[in-house]
């Protein structure tokens, strides 16, 4: 009984301590307070490195903006949180960023699965998130909410652009296999491939689809199963460490000499593969310096190398662009009020590292470019890069407004 009484007293004290804090936290932000930016990223598994470079890109942008006096006279504050690449942790951390840290805007995360979980939370709290890596189309189409803006080519755009590129390079290919990581992103990219290839080659056929789990280390059985089908070409949305493992295990089979192949071969994959990167193989990517070496991009490369001592990948580029998109929208709205910023963001154009893009008012999808190329040696860099680069503006591959509305009819979105 005595113990219980002690505990009650303890609880009372705790409550008293907490009350003033909540009261203080509830006070309204003044016009001179910093604008608070919540970075929600997945520091785990295949997303760890991607998240690290994204946050680096965000930091560089925030520092730059603050050095020039901030946005509408207010500094940017950055708060970084880790989701551990788990949907429940992602939802919890997002809630905490919103309720306790009082963030005005969110940027992130890496995993499409986590993104959909996070979206439920911040949409409910009416906080705007810019998504620059997780690219499932679900964020802007199936599960549309005005509180999301997407500045990375979504799974549909990326899948369609890569399919068109492959079709242009191998117009005679009719029989296909696919290999993609078994989760939201991989499923959607391959669905986009299946949809588009039927339009381009009506008598085409998908013989076999492999769904290795994300983080798979051993692709041997998948590789032999694909080769047994003797496809004309293979479409893949493998990326990162998974693509490194797949490439190394497929090479001794003569896979890349026998079968045309396309996958997300970008900078980190080339750095890891070194001389093992298969030249002549098709690649798609989301825009890093060797895909789009414009002056603004190369200036960013210098800044990033000074800060990190390494070349920035496309993940850093998109994260950097996100911060500038928020800045542009806040300046246009002359306020950090979410609803006003969303209004300002619809139809806004940004002169980004990847060239100019516009946010489509209907679904908040940016007309961000998709890139494709062929893997090749590059004397300028200590890793392989691309040649024959194609830059496809987002508005050439995104789902038409009618198309979006059609999906909305099915998923019950009204707008």
């Amino acid at each position: 009984m005595k113990k219980l009484a002690g505990f009650t007293v303890f609880l009372c004290i705790l409550t008293m301590l907490l009350v003033p804090v909540t009261v203080l936290a509830g006070t309204k932000a003044s016009a001179k307070d910093p604008i608070r930016l919540g970075a929600i990223w997945d520091y785990a598994g295949p997303c760890y490195m991607l998240s690290e470079s994204a946050v680096q890109g965000i930091k560089i942008a925030v520092d730059e903006i603050n050095a020039k006096g901030g946005v509408i006279g207010r500094k940017l504050d950055l708060i970084v949180r880790d989701t551990e690449m788990k949907v429940d942790v992602g939802a919890r951390e997002t809630k905490d960023l919103i309720l306790r840290e009082k963030v005005n805007f969110l940027v992130g995360p890496c995993s499409s699965g986590v993104a959909l979980a996070v979206q439920v939370v911040h949409a409910e709290s009416k906080v705007l998130r810019v998504t620059c890596m997780a690219n499932t189309e679900g964020q802007v189409v199936d599960k549309f909410t005005p509180y999301v803006t997407q500045v990375v080519p979504n799974t549909y755009m990326e899948g369609v652009a890569a399919t068109r590129f492959m079709n242009k390079k191998y117009p005679a290919a009719k029989k296909f296999c696919t290999v993609a990581p078994d989760y939201e992103y991989g499923r959607r990219e391959e669905a986009a491939f299946a949809e588009e290839i039927k339009k381009l080659v009506p008598d085409s056929e998908i013989l076999y689809q492999a769904w290795p789990k994300p983080g798979e280390k051993d692709y041997t059985s998948f590789i032999t199963a694909i080769m047994a089908q003797k496809p004309d070409a293979v479409h893949s949305s493998l990326f990162g460490g998974d693509l490194v493992a797949f490439t190394k295990q497929a090479a001794p089979y003569g896979f890349f000499e026998k079968i045309p192949f396309i996958a997300l071969y970008d900078l980190p994959v080339f750095v890891a593969l070194g001389a093992d990167a298969p030249e002549g193989v098709m690649a798609f990517g989301r825009g890093c310096f060797f895909m789009d070496p414009n002056p603004k991009m190369m200036e960013f490369v210098d800044k990033y190398r000074k800060a990190r001592g390494a070349y920035p990948d496309s993940w850093a580029v998109q994260a950097y662009d996100s911060v500038y998109l928020i800045k542009a929208a806040v300046e246009k709205a002359k306020s950090s009020d979410t609803e006003k910023v969303i209004k300002a963001m619809e139809g806004i154009s940004l002169d980004s590292l990847r060239g100019k893009f516009t946010i489509r008012p209907l679904d908040h999808m940016g007309s961000v470019p998709c890139y494709q190329g062929i893997i090749a040696k590059d004397p300028k860099y200590p890793f392989k890069t691309w040649k024959d680069i194609v830059r496809v503006p987002g508005d050439q591959v995104w789902r038409s407004e009618e198309g979006v509305r059609e999906v909305w009819k099915k998923t019950g979105v009204t707008r």
Binding site: E216, K217, D218, T220, A245, K248, P252, A272, L273
Partner: protein, 293 residues
């Protein structure tokens, strides 16, 4: 399906099984004698892979550096195993399962964070070592020679463990201790010493298998959890603590997965655990296992 296609799929399954056996044998050995389910076995495997990468990079011997790096990292992991046994596990043998699981699970978190802190989140990769860079041809179908290296290494390990457990005096003690540790202790054999050496051997195997997977795929965070789950399936199917059971379990899991991928790729992973569930229903102690007393 023609014969060569099926044969190749079979070989892919063997290669996968060999890889699983390398890791699972250490897990099973530790469990068989120490009666401790070392959750962190996969973490030692991951650490072995990362270490071998760093040593390989540091050695700068392009052709054979890999083999030196593999041996050195396996030894280093054995040393870490010694440290873990001496500081943590030793205190847990007398405790119940929950404490053992909690402590080894804590080790997973600690090792993951050490790897993050030391190597960052990048995925790393070692080129295949000579003379295993090319493919060999079987029935006109190429098969990567490095996979043969892993299969051979698996076989060598099978024979070594078989010899150790069934043909040496240490093996007699190991089997006796697995059966009745109080009796062995009463005969004047220092059980703590025996347990330490078994755990160190298990750690060595974990480090070795981690190092040889480095040129196979990518070295990345998360490879610890990924392998330990499949290893659990292997030892549950084959029987915890049984060497032939681990061998059979690895073979079954490798083949089920490989042919699952060929015929029903969506369910390939599920098939493994269906087999596991069936074994658990019919023989809860695994095919070669003994019922717990």
């Amino acid at each position: 399906m023609s014969f060569d296609v099926l044969f190749n799929q079979f070989l892919s399954g063997i290669a996968r099984g060999a890889l699983l056996f390398l890791v699972a044998s250490g897990l099973s050995l530790t469990f068989g004698v120490l009666r401790v389910l070392n959750f962190a076995h996969g973490s030692l495997y991951m650490l072995g892979a990362f270490l071998s990468y760093s040593i390989w990079k540091w050695l700068l011997i392009p052709v054979y550096g890999f083999y030196v790096a593999t041996l050195l990292s396996a030894l280093a992991i054995a040393g870490i195993g010694l440290l873990i046994e001496y500081t943590i596990l030793r205190r847990l043998y007398a405790r119940g399962w929950p404490e053992q699981l909690l402590a080894t699970y804590a080790l997973i978190l600690i090792i993951t964070d050490i790897v993050k802190w030391f190597w960052g989140g990048e995925f790393l990769s070692i080129p295949r070592p000579e003379p295993f860079t090319k493919a060999v041809f079987l029935f006109d179908f190429p098969f990567p020679s490095y996979n043969f290296f892993i299969i051979i290494l698996g076989l060598v390990l099978v024979f070594f463990l078989w010899w150790l457990v069934y043909k040496t005096r240490l093996g007699d003690i190991i089997r006796a201790a697995a059966h009745d540790r109080d009796m062995v202790s009463a005969l004047g054999i220092p059980i703590p010493w025996l347990f330490t050496s078994i755990f160190v051997l298990g750690a060595f195997i974990a480090g070795l298998s981690g190092a040889v997977t480095a040129p196979y795929g990518a070295v990345a965070l998360g490879m610890d959890i990924e392998i330990i789950i499949e290893c659990f399936a292997v030892v549950v199917i084959g029987g915890m603590g049984s060497l032939p059971g681990t061998l059979l379990g690895s073979f079954i899991v490798g083949q089920v997965y490989s042919f699952g991928i060929m015929y029903k790729p969506e369910l390939a992973l599920a098939f493994i655990f269906m087999v596991m569930a069936i074994v658990l229903i019919i023989r809860p102690w695994g095919i070669f296992g003994r019922p717990e007393r």
